[in-house]
């Protein structure tokens, strides 16, 4: 059973392939299914040993009441890394998963060989993202909730989202489920569970990952940002200030490139990982 006790909680993971270690870290409210259903695990496991896991509070991992900052999650990663006996790993992190990757590069550099970011927003860099509160994915979500007469508020607020979901009537939840479809239903149904935790506030906390600390990350970083991302200022900042950062724009995506443009995202991730590891392409 692929579960381990780490840092006071239980993490569910899956592993496949052989080669240099790659660790896939999903976004807040997501889970490792995104890497499986998009074929990313299969695409990478021909040339790498791929570990994907559900962050605490998500998927099949345990859901403790606290410990959802990037600092906590980076420690979860470090402990998982040790428990699984991984070599220094390249982390591919979507959104908050990328923040966890950068945080781990700072606090556990011996575990992190490099980081591929997918459209990550860093709370420590919020000053350069004046429109963070009006991020397009949040606006889309607001619009969906407005159809059932619920206001998610003017700015990105995960705690409000989770508590709002927890207080929906059965009818409101059913209406939302019809709107998001069968695949989105699982996503909706876990939101109330996160209301029982500090996740909402924690993931927007700087937690020690300041701009100066990010600048000091010396491992190679690939900043893959979506064409219609609200975080282009962050992408430009990373390329300017990190000593070893390359950026690339994934077309036709607005925060979920792995889902919105899987072909381009997968190709970019594989290209950069092969470049960084020196591993020859074995298949396609």
């Amino acid at each position: 059973m692929p579960e381990v006790e780490v840092n006071g909680t239980r993490i569910y993971y899956q592993q496949s392939g052989t080669g240099p270690d790659i660790v896939l870290i999903h976004a807040v409210t997501s889970n490792q299914a995104v890497w499986v259903f998009t074929g990313m695990v299969d695409a990478l496991s021909t040339d790498f040993r791929v570990t994907s896991y559900d962050m605490r509070g998500h998927g099949f991992s345990a859901r403790p009441a606290t410990g959802y900052t990037s600092a906590d999650m980076a420690e979860d990663f470090r402990c998982l890394h040790a428990k699984l006996g991984l070599q220094p790993a390249f982390i591919v992190g979507h959104s908050f998963g990328g923040v966890v990757g950068i945080h781990a590069a700072m606090t556990a550099p011996e575990c992190v060989a490099g980081i591929v970011l997918s459209d990550s927003f860093f709370p420590g860099l919020k000053e350069i993202e004046p429109n963070f509160g009006k991020a397009n994915v949040w606006m889309d979500l607001k619009e969906t909730f407005q159809t059932i007469g619920v206001d998610l508020g003017p700015v990105v607020d995960f705690t409000r989202l989770f508590r709002t979901a927890a207080n929906l009537t059965t009818q409101q939840m059913q209406t939302l489920e019809e709107k998001v479809g069968v695949l989105g239903r699982g996503w909706l149904r876990q939101l109330p569970k996160l209301a029982e935790t500090t996740c909402g506030d924690d993931v927007l906390a700087e937690a020690g990952l300041t701009a100066d600390k990010i600048k000091a990350v010396s491992q190679p970083v690939v900043a893959l940002y979506d064409e219609f991302s609200p975080f282009h200022a962050t992408c430009a900042w990373l390329e300017q200030y990190l000593p070893a950062c390359k950026s690339e724009i994934i077309p036709a995506a607005k925060h979920l490139a792995v889902v919105e443009n899987t072909i381009a995202f997968s190709a970019a991730v594989r290209r950069h990982l092969h470049r960084l590891t020196g591993v020859e392409v074995r298949n396609g």
Binding site: M1, N31, A33, V36, T38, F60, V182, L183, G186
Partner: protein, 93 residues
Amino acid sequence: MTSRTAEQVYRELGDVMANTFPDRDFSASVGPSTQVFADLGLASIDLVVLGERLELFYGRRLPYGQFLAELRNRNVEDLELGELVAFLVRHAG
């Protein structure tokens, strides 16, 4: 070695699902056209975990990730049990 029949795989799948999701009720009548998301109430992560448990049960790696990715590539909204059973008969039998 005799290959597994679809009927046998249905029973085995039922056992694995009951063990994987002990808090869920799958007692309602199911058949080849039963949909795992819409009818059984599973989520995508549940299918991922189910795949891992099926590999454990059958004692072999299955091209399960490829199977799930192909569903998405075909823009399939849901997965019918019959399709999952056919996959298992083909690869685990």
